[in-house]
Amino acid sequence: MSQPEEYNLMEASKLQSLTEKLDRAIDSLSQTRNFAKVAKIQPLFDIVRRVLQQEGGCAVVEERAQRLEEAGIFAGSDWAQPHILIPTLSTFSLKSPEPNTVVIEALSELRLLAVAMGDYIHPTMSREQAHHFLTQVLAINLELLFGVAGEAEREQQGKLAGIPRALFRHLAERIGYEHVIDQLIEEIWRILQQRPIQVDSVKQMITQIAICQSNPDIDLGASGQGADRLISSLYGPTQACREDPGVAVYLERLEGMDSGALQYEATGFARAMHDTGLVSPYHAVLLRYLLNHGDHLLAEGMGLSSTGRDCLLCYADLVRALIDEAIHPETAQGIFGLAQLLERGILYQPPLAPALWRQLALPLSAYSNERLALAFGPSPSARAWLLQGVLCMLGQPLGVGQGNNPTCQSARALSMWAYNDPDYLLQMVVWAARDDEIIIHFEGQPISSRDSLSGVATEIPLDLDPVSMLVVPHLDRIYAEMGRRCIGRPGDPHRWVNPEFHGWWSGRGFRINVDVETGKLDQLDDFLRHFYASYHPYYNGNQPLIHPQPAGIAVTDSAARFIGWHAITILRVSLDPREVMRVYFFNPNNDSGQNWGDGITVSTAGEGERFGESSLPFEQFASRLYIFHFDPLESGELAIIPAEELSEVNARISRSWGVDRLPANELQASPGTT
């Protein structure tokens, strides 16, 4: 017998013996009375993990999915109710360093696979639902299907990392690759409509699709049609680079073009960029080439409207210098930032042009250089990366994301400054990048980011845009220090921290509907009436919101259960195209289209949102709000809201995050509905 055969036989017998153990463990759990299952579940988790780590293990577990579920392996966990599961969360579970979390998620997917294949008639999940769910999970985790394991993954998960990969291979083979792709394309468009600054993961997914399409072994059938625009916007938006010839060849071709042809190229790139929010590296080649041509072609190449073009003409030298320094094939995404920056007209604010000149010449500290090079690579240069980041943040203030870090406060502050006080943001960038120190005053006392040792985040984040990467660690420490200085004060520290941290325009008036001591709801009706009086145009004298205001949200999951407190910015309140009063807000997390349960789904496009805005009808928003700021000098008369609307909002609160927070006397007033 040859050695590989012998090895295969050995592996097969190992799977065989593990399968027997698995069957015994399933039987043992299913015989156990319900009340003792939780204590007996660990051995089953263990054996499932070991089976999944074997070649062919996924199929073994899929075959036993129904028995596993009926034995009670999901009992008491979210996975017991597959209809409330959210595909996006699967990524976090599957990348967890905790074996049980990885195993239960993988098990759940294999169970849904059995349901989707019609092998398992599930009480709460239909075949179609299961199928739909799995395609979403596959789409979101496509990098696990096609990509190679990253260093971080290995470091965090070790041998566990093999499980999600084997799982996705198995899922894709059973479901069919063609289903994955269409779902994925839809998902990518939904994310792109929010115009995030960070598009690396989106680019990665598009690249995966392109690879799939060109692989003759993968039959995509009729699917994947909608991917053309996405793929071409990255790899060949125009006629002259359609076949992805490489930047050197493309530059040669440009050199042979007359102005008519250049104009054609410029329009093509601009259209692709504004369609998708993605910028092709070829676009950077063109724009640099156009530096030697007239402003007209440059404006055309960025797809500028009359506002943007005016701005470009007024500050032609500055814009050219910015392009020259910041725009390279690697940093092409900065073109979109620059175009949006010009469209916003913020260059007309007196400090901004000189501040950008300063940015252009800014020497970076050794530490900043090192951080940027570590995250983005040495080419073109740390300075170019930072400048590109600055352009993007100023152009897409609502595209800021916190990455996978608990720093929503700092991300919100950066976004707010970029939106409302851009030269202040540029000042912060200078201090952080050049001096490695930011000082913000709190009630007259300076707080240096150097003296405050620990922030909210325990690790230095790497999954951020260049500006956030340098500035957030400083802001995070200062924010935490401000919190520490409020220790001992009654109530919630955000009352003092928010205005001092974000800026003078954050209202000094502060309202919270949770009693910090007890965690119970507090003066709910007054809170809501005050919120309506401050923000709702029908109750505040039709006054549109002037400055963005920090606010706090009780985030709930799709089953309307409380998850945590989250910082957002209220941007505006107005009627949507269907004449519904909506709150438009900024959410610093990376994908704002969230399902908060009880029929509340945050919309990110199609309800009058601008790029990066989230929105909810006013009363739905009010039902998740727990902190807002107001100007104490404005008349504080509480709004007379129709009783019906007030009780509707109240009901939404008590059905979701307020369920365990009802004050005792209210409980007595309304005995349980059961």
């Binding site: 013996s17 156990t32 009375r33 319900n34 009340f35 003792a36 204590a39 660990q42 051995p43």
Partner: protein, 413 residues
């Protein structure tokens, strides 16, 4: 709990009370055909209420004037017998059963089984061989005993001493167990541990027995082989130990007679010396630690708690219990063992099952949890392990060596 999960019990059979809270015991009772009730401290109440587990609150402290109260309560409920699950409830079972069965002798018997010094005296009176033992009330007693034992062994000054063992009178298994070799070590014993029982060290092979007794007869006798005391055990034993089974059976019969045990379950420990002589260590009237019941279930397929309920229930018939138990050793599907993990390093940060353990064909499962604290407290006595690792396989020698080998591995790094 769903309706279908409600217990179906046989009204012809006995009604048993479980003394103490053990989830495994309750779970087993719940799916057995005897009506049951859990008697446990009031912290068990929310759990029992939530899961519809029949429950009577009782705080087992020292026996006192109110002891009769719980016996009366159970009697009024129609309970036939009480079953102790922990060392601390053995005397309670004796007191309660003496009322339920109207047999005052049961209480005295329980007291014998609860006190290690009394137990040894009784064994000695019954003609059972025990080592040298004595009670110690302070440190001086310990030093004197250590010297006397070593004089008896004809040791000269300067010869290394044979160690002596110190055990609490009334604690289960290894709790409070210390080994003392020199007078200096006596100083490390905290005063509050006194009084203790002192025993001479026996060089030999230590093993334990689990025996289910009905009408004064052994219905099932298991020999548990220790690989290393406090670390690992497996069942059934190797043929080398099983060859003593006839002699061991005679010893257990002697024990049953000496302690006048009519029914129930005993868990004695013995030494067998190189010349084949058996020395009695101690006996407990409750389930053994180290999850031997779970090992038995894996090796033979019967639930040891069910066996215990049968052995205690006065309404159990001879045929019923004979049909329940398999034939020792020959009916076993294999050998099941477990290993108690102690962290070997002073500072640990996470749990990591060694690859060679996990990849071994015999490896079944583990119940280790991630460490809560990074620093490991130093072990003074035999201490408590951090969790068990289970193995199962056909060959007892492979299993034994595998269990021994685990001692050299790091599970916490």
């Amino acid at each position: 709990m769903s309706k279908s999960d409600a217990q179906n019990y046989n009204p012809e059979k006995g009604y048993v009370a479980l003394l103490g809270w053990s989830l495994n015991a309750v779970e087993a009772a719940d799916r057995f055909d005897r009506r049951y009730v859990v008697v446990a401290p009031d912290w068990a109440q929310p759990y029992c209420d939530e899961h519809d587990i029949p429950y009577v609150p009782w705080n087992f402290e020292r026996l006192n004037d109110r002891s009769l109260e719980i016996a009366q309560t159970l009697k009024e409920m129609g309970v036939d017998i009480s079953i102790p699950l922990f060392e601390e409830t053995v005397e309670w079972a004796g007191a309660i059963n003496s009322v339920l069965l109207d047999n005052p002798r049961l209480f005295g018997q329980a007291m014998l089984l609860r006190d290690k010094a009394l137990m040894k005296r009784r064994a000695q009176l019954g003609g059972i061989r025990v080592g040298i033992f004595e009670e110690a009330h302070d440190k001086e007693d310990v030093v004197r005993f250590l010297k006397r034992v070593n004089q008896t062994l004809l040791k000269l000054d300067g010869d290394p001493n044979d160690p002596i063992h110190l055990k609490a009178f009334d604690k289960a298994g290894c709790l409070g167990h210390r080994v003392i070799r020199t007078p200096d070590e006596v100083d490390t014993i905290p005063d509050e541990e006194f009084p203790v029982l002192m025993e001479s060290h026996l060089d030999g092979w230590e093993f334990a027995v689990e025996a289910w007794i009905h009408n004064g007869k052994i219905k099932f006798l298991n020999i548990s082989e220790y690989v290393t005391l406090g670390y690992s055990v497996f069942v059934p034993a190797t043929p080398e130990l099983e060859k003593y089974r006839p002699e061991i059976t005679r010893q257990i019969e002697k024990l049953i007679k000496t302690f006048d045990i009519e029914f129930g379950f005993i868990h004695p420990e013995y030494f067998v010396t190189s010349d084949g002589e058996m020395y009695f260590g101690e006996v407990a009237y409750r389930p053994p630690g180290f999850k031997v019941f779970e090992l038995l279930e894996q090796a033979y397929g019967f639930n040891a708690y069910h066996g215990m309920i049968l052995a205690f229930d006065p309404k159990t018939t001879e045929q019923e219990i004979d049909a329940f138990f398999p034939k020792e050793v020959v009916d076993a599907k294999g050998h099941a063992g477990c290993f108690g993990v102690y962290p070997r390093r002073r500072v640990v940060s996470h749990l990591q099952i060694p690859a060679e353990t996990e990849d071994h064909e015999y490896f079944e499962s583990h119940e280790l949890a991630a460490p809560v604290e990074e620093t490991v407290t130093k072990r003074t006595a035999f201490g408590t392990h951090w969790g068990l690792v289970y193995f199962f396989g056909k060959d007892p020698h492979i299993l034994r060596d595998l269990l021994k080998h685990q001692e050299d591995l790091d599970f916490y790094v």
